[in-house]
Symmetry: C2
């Protein structure tokens, strides 16, 4: 007699998560993680040329990755003369871990 499906369906619209997904997508690449880690460890802002030297990528590609991080709001940049310096955006870590928490934490254990 056709047992009904196991449990009642939950709602949970996917587009609630589009924003978080975009942010995670921005960090879902080894080179971009390297860039972020470098920025996090740096005591000063880091100039683009350091990345083009430090990464096995050439300059347009580095620029592309920096743009993705910029558009995700995870880094900021400032032009100083000919050079452009990048640093970790304020609250970058917080925004990421908040996104994680709001996804995974709500399992309230009373």
């Amino acid at each position: 007699m056709s047992m009904q499906c196991c449990c009642p369906p939950k709602g949970l619209a996917a587009d609630v998560f589009t924003e978080s997904a975009a942010m995670f997508k921005a960090i879902a690449d080894p080179h971009r993680l390297t860039i972020l880690a470098t920025l996090a460890r740096a005591s000063e802002e880091v100039c683009v040329c350091d990345f083009t030297e430090g990464l096995p990528l050439n300059q347009p590609t580095v620029s592309h990755h920096l743009r993705i991080l910029r558009e995700a709001g995870l880094v900021t940049c400032e032009r100083r003369g000919t050079w452009v310096y990048y640093e970790l955006a304020d609250g970058a870590h917080e925004r990421l871990s908040d996104a994680l928490a709001s996804l995974l934490k709500p399992k309230v254990k009373t």
Copy 2:
């Protein structure tokens, strides 16, 4: 006279981050985030048919997303009769936020 480049190069091999990047890649999709959030909010394990009903995807696609989460070690599954039940892997949240922290935290503020 050709000023040297702005600052000394840092090391920081990219493949240190390949593993973290893979994990973040697994969560870098709205539908997979929806799955994770559902699991996190569920008091019990959730059966696949719930996802196929709840998501605007059809069954093979859901299965594909579940596989990616499984292979990233973020969910586990158990077959019970005809149904397969998924739940959040132990320490899923911890592994993700640890990866975040080891990336972004080392900026020690003395």
